[in-house]
Amino acid sequence: MKEGIRHMADPKLVDAVLAQIRASLDHEIEDEHIERVRKGIDDKLDQAERVRKYPLENGDEPFTVFRAYREES
């Protein structure tokens, strides 16, 4: 992929994702680590945006190893 301008996510979106993560934890993220988690969220939003830029058709399926299961007797 050609290098592009980095997409910076809307801070409100980053805040919302951060709130979702914090609400799902059994513990608090320490205050001094919050900025790093925000940066991680921003990176992942940017990566997903870059992946989304490549067009897919409705029929483009992922490979999968899922199989209906029946134990052999």
Binding site: I29, G40, K44, Q47, R50
Partner: protein, 461 residues
């Protein structure tokens, strides 16, 4: 002394009576306990099991029972492979006392082939899945390079690389999700084979990314890698991703020279000068065996798709560790924090990356079908210093388009030492081929090693 002998050489020594399995096991254990520990390559010596397996191998050889090329050969396994009787730490403090009551399929197959497990070897915590940014990212401490102990042996199969390069064991098993066999093969000057995804069962191995994890051999020569792969490959009902085809090495069904090579020039753009120079010389050496042309890779967001897929699968595999807070017990400060953001990758983003991955696989197969192998440097740089953050070493070289692409598409590749770069550290040539082409790649690497002697050099340690 048997240090630095290849599997094939040791096999000949065993059969001529020049040495015995118990003697080889004792020598390996002693060297691991001294040199191996000095390098931080060892997590656990499996002495009792090793001597038991070695004694059985010895008894069988006396009785005329020969299990093949690995019979009586000592080896080490990355500490993400379950082995009865010993902890399997995954390189991570929260799991350092974890015990499994079964052998991973790879360990079982090696036992059946007569090989002798002598050690569980050091690795980056969680195989690097937490996003480490420095060598000091495992509870056993950073692993050094035998050629220069102030340099890092690579990751995440850090101990597997260092132990083989230091002459502690003739081969080791590593794993690769996105570079974890080839990085230490590059940094330590080894031959490292990343098999096709599904060639080797992952049953009993720590799962970082179910759709990207591969297990493979690290050894001195391509021939040895083939011998080991022959023992560990094959379908396994316990791992539904394993390929149905059986693998055999050596095989007569391998294309002979002349080969068609494609050189990926774009991979040289950010490489260190010595890496580029050694690569050019390697390509010249391979011209004896075939034709060379330049190729361009299909344009996809390889590194981004790799990150989305690995992070999403990692977050699922280690959800309890992260949500429950034990993630804070990991060694590298960044590993205690990075995993949080992976908890919120939407399923649609993961599936989009997986759908795009299927298109990449088809385009890569079309590309690779025109060549016997693509040639690149294994890494754009030699091993970084052992005590620095990667960003301060050479951040411009960290973006690994090719490494991401080959792991996303699951194609095999073999790394072979091809010279030295800065600070007296090894550089490496990577030979990549189409799905299922391991024997072609081994044949090409064998050809390269037949006209060069880098793989025969040993560090002064």
């Amino acid at each position: 002394m048997s240090h630095y002998k290849t599997v094939a050489e040791l096999g000949a020594m065993l059969r001529s009576g020049e040495t015995t399995p118990t003697r080889l096991a004792r020598e390996a254990l002693e060297r691991l306990d001294s040199v191996g520990r000095e390098l931080n390559a060892v997590v656990t010596l499996t002495e009792e099991r090793a001597m038991r397996e070695a004694e059985q191998a010895e008894r069988e050889l006396r009785e005329g029972i020969d299990r093949g090329p690995l019979h009586g050969i000592p080896y080490g396994a990355k500490d993400l492979l379950a082995a009865v009787g010993y902890p399997t730490s995954w390189g991570a403090a929260p799991y350092k006392d974890q015990i499994f009551d079964y052998d991973a399929t790879v360990i079982r197959k090696l036992r059946e082939a007569g090989a002798v497990l002598v050690a569980k070897l050091a690795m980056i915590e969680l195989a690097g899945g937490a996003g480490y940014e420095q060598p000091n990212a495992t509870f056993t401490g950073p692993t050094g390079v035998p050629w220069n102990r102030e340099a890092w042996s690579g990751g995440s199969s850090s101990g597997s690389g260092a132990a083989v390069a230091a002459g502690c064991v003739p081969f080791a098993i590593g794993s690769e999700t996105a570079g974890s066999i080839h990085s230490p093969a590059n940094n330590c000057g080894l031959t490292g084979l990343r098999p096709t995804y599904g060639r080797v069962s992952r049953h009993g191995a720590m799962a970082l990314s179910w759709t990207m994890d591969k297990l493979g051999p690290m050894a001195r020569t391509a021939h040895d890698c083939g011998l080991v792969l022959d023992a560990i490959a094959g379908p396994d009902p316990a791992d539904p991703s394993t390929l149905p085809q059986h693998y055999r090495y050596p095989s007569e069904a391998v294309p002979a020279p002349p080969y068609r090579f494609g050189v990926v020039e774009s991979e040289l753009e950010n490489a260190q000068p010595e890496v580029v120079e050694n690569f050019r010389q390697s390509v010249e050496a391979l011209r004896e065996f075939g034709s060379v042309e330049t190729v361009e890779l299909p344009d996809y967001p390889y590194t981004e798709a790799t990150s989305v897929i690995i992070r999403a699968e990692m977050a699922s595999a280690f959800e309890e560790l992260i949500r429950g807070g034990k993630v804070r017990e990991l060694t590298a400060p960044e590993d205690r924090i990075n995993p949080y953001s992976a908890l919120a990758i939407p399923a649609v983003d993961y599936l989009r990356a997986m759908r795009l991955r299927a298109k990449m696989c088809r385009d890569w197969d079309a590309l690779l079908s025109r060549y016997d192998a693509l040639l690149t440097p294994t890494m754009p740089n030699v091993a970084p210093p052992i005590d620095v953050h990667f960003a301060s070493f050479d951040s411009s070289r960290r973006r690994r388009t090719f490494g991401s692409a080959v792991n996303l598409t699951g194609v095999p590749g073999i790394a072979v030492m091809n010279g030295f770069g800065e600070r007296g550290l090894p550089t490496s040539l990577c030979i990549t081929g189409r799905t299922g082409s391991e024997n072609t790649l081994i044949a090409i690497a064998n050809a390269y090693q037949s006209v060069t002697d880098w793989h025969t050099l040993t560090p002064d340690i």
